[in-house]
Homo-oligomer: 411 residues x 2
């Protein structure tokens, strides 16, 4: 049994995490939030107070920390007494925060793989480049570390596990992520544009015929007929969960598909083709050195600003195919979330909501002991059922669709 | 009779002007070229020597001058003894160079209106904001100043005058500028992107029903069926010559149409919609102040680099409608130029070629006395026939198309 949470980061996802921790502080205990900029943490806690989100009276505190400084994070863990760390800071701080957890014995949860700012798209499996190198150390020290526990990666890994458990043999896992919402702007990214575009400028790795294969962004597209959001075109994209699922289920093909409209692809293609998404500096006629991607980021809307006007729904799910009782079978496990509902509940848009709720469910399962594994785990290596049970209750219900119909996962 | 030429500027158009002056130095005398960067002038003179372009032996000299400094330009005019100044520097130096000509008595030729760098698209008629304010002074001092003597403005003004002279009454002048060439790049502008985009981000003024009307870029498009280049879509754009022609022929509707492909419009629209064509600085997340348009310019190909691979043709002409002998009549006066021919002759692409040849023809007409008006003139106020005669000979032949067929203007 562990208690008291330290949230690392103060962006859109951190805000959702803070609200959800507050709503469940009877289980989670004290809630601390820390980032490089104290005022951002304080602003988030202010929204928690405004919504009167704390279930029971308790600690709600903001801290300043440089998450790239592992010793400083360890000191903060000791100072706060937090036994669970939810890392939703930038993709560049995973390893320093994980090291601080290993150092102090606190449980670690994150929602995306570690990235080196100087490298775009490393060799597969991505987890092997950083996180998994610490797996033996976690086991040796009995430290629980749950990797990629957002929605995708995260809930979709549990969707895969749940479907695979119902089959005798798994043949393929296709993860489909559709945002059918509308923010009303000419163009915007749902996350930090720098991180968002980095996802799409590299090689797209997928797992087929028991080997890594490569394609490029927008090269491989397919229409998907999905519950609630209808027919939507999605394109093979590189994504974290492909790298752990392919390692855990090497017999299955594993692909990730992300939905994009024509307009998004057009704007992306123009910017990419002109060299405006480059992270390499260019020199203007006046001799100023500028990174084009940072200028694009400066002219685009702040992703957080999209929330109030965001309408429509997301549908994210796994189509898992395999053999059951000698017959070809397929199961679609999925969630539908609503942007407007998310904004009303926690002041965030749906994309941040779906990413921020699951790590809180994971923290609650560490608190209850059910997921307190005492070692490093990807989500598909843990029992999905208690995870779904909590997610159903705290805002992200799981449904399944197969030849017996479309229904809640536990109906 | 005037002789000896000083070219101001050292860009792509200046290179064409230098070559054409050299090819006609028996008429024009000494050839001087001056810009802020001496090495650029020297590089141009080097290409003139490489092509062995000088018709007769004579002076060919490079100078350094800040064209924003009128006294420095006047001193250079006196030092070189130049009696004709061809200003093909940036759009921001017209008034200082014109003042130097008025001061020294040298004849002045330019190819585009003066612009204030801080203002995009001033009120019509554009010439009234700067150049025409000096008209009385030119007349008083007997200084010849020929405004807008490139292709458009310039040759197209002479096309209009030529057609109008054949009519009893003019009803409309539609100038159509089609570049049906291909540079083989994903996207590039034919001139300095900063100047190029400034042309398209402001209000589009045109003259109809004896008044100024407004539209916006790409809002008004029409297919034109043209000689050699075939059917091409062109859009109403703001352009200098509309402002002088509407003043000189207020009874006629005057419109300018520029050809754009779907791809150009798409890229332009994306950049414009995102705010990347703004000349107003933005601040990056790291606190750096950057003008987005300057970054776009930095990532686009250097217009001069397009020349070697440019293929295809341009067609620029005037469709003039009116009454002749009581009957509705229309005449299309036009030129077709070839990018590859231009590169082979003077090492430049066709767009620079069509802009750079006409001011040299104008200089030759000042040298011969035919256009040495002793006052300020727009091109339609001068006899077009000797202009066409020289242009036929030095690379830009004029043709007409009417109900009697398609033929040379003087056939």
């Amino acid at each position: 049994m562990k208690r008291d949470v330290l949230i690392i980061g103060a962006g859109g996802v951190a805000q959702v995490v803070a609200h959800k921790c507050a709503q469940n502080n009877d289980v989670l205990g004290a809630i601390h939030i820390a980032s490089r900029t104290l005022s951002k943490c304080e602003a988030i806690l202010e929204t928690v107070r405004e919504k009167d989100a704390m279930k029971v009276e308790g600690v709600l505190a903001a801290h300043q920390v440089d998450a790239m400084d592992s010793a400083a994070v360890a000191a903060l863990i000791r100072e706060t007494g937090a036994q669970i760390v939810i890392n939703v800071g930038s993709a560049f701080v995973n390893m320093t925060v994980l090291d601080a957890c290993i150092e102090t014995g606190a449980a670690y949860i994150d929602t995306a793989i570690h990235e080196d700012p100087a490298k775009i798209c490393e060799t597969p499996p991505w987890y092997g480049n950083y996180e998994w190198k610490k797996r033996d150390l976690c086991a040796e020290k009995g430290v629980t570390a749950i990797l990629g526990a957002g929605f995708d990666p995260g809930v979709v890994n549990a969707f895969a596990r749940f479907a695979i458990d119902r089959l005798d043999e798994v043949k393929s896992i296709d993860i489909v992520d559709i945002n059918a919402g509308s923010h009303g702007k000419y163009f915007a990214t749902n996350f930090d544009p720098e991180i968002n575009f980095r996802e799409f400028t590299g090689t797209v790795y997928y797992w087929e015929d028991q080997q890594w294969k490569e394609t490029s962004m927008f090269a491989s597209g397919r229409d998907w007929d999905l519950p609630v959001v209808g027919t939507q075109r999605a394109y093979q994209s590189g994504h974290d969960e492909v790298h752990s699922l392919a390692t855990n289920y090497p017999q299955a093909d594993v692909r990730f598909w992300m939905g994009f409209g024509e307009h998004y692809i057009n704007v992306f293609t123009v910017l990419q083709s002109l060299g405006l998404l480059s992270e390499q500096p260019v020199t203007t006629a006046e001799g100023q050195e500028v990174v084009p991607l940072k200028v694009v980021k400066a002219v685009l809307p702040d992703p957080a600003s999209l929330a109030p006007d965001y309408t429509g729904k997301t549908c994210i799910g796994d189509l898992v195919k395999g053999i059951k009782d000698g017959k070809e079978t397929e199961i679609f496990v999925y969630n539908v979330a609503d942007h407007k509902d998310a904004y009303e509940e926690v002041g965030s848009q749906g994309i941040s909501y779906t990413a921020g709720v699951p790590p809180v469910a994971a923290a609650m399962l560490i608190a209850s002991g059910e997921w307190d594994a005492g070692t490093m785990k990807n989500v598909e290596e843990l029992d999905p059922k208690p995870f779904f049970t909590i997610l159903d209750r705290i805002g992200l219900p799981t449904r399944i669709k197969d030849d017996m119909g479309d229904r809640p996962w536990n109906a």
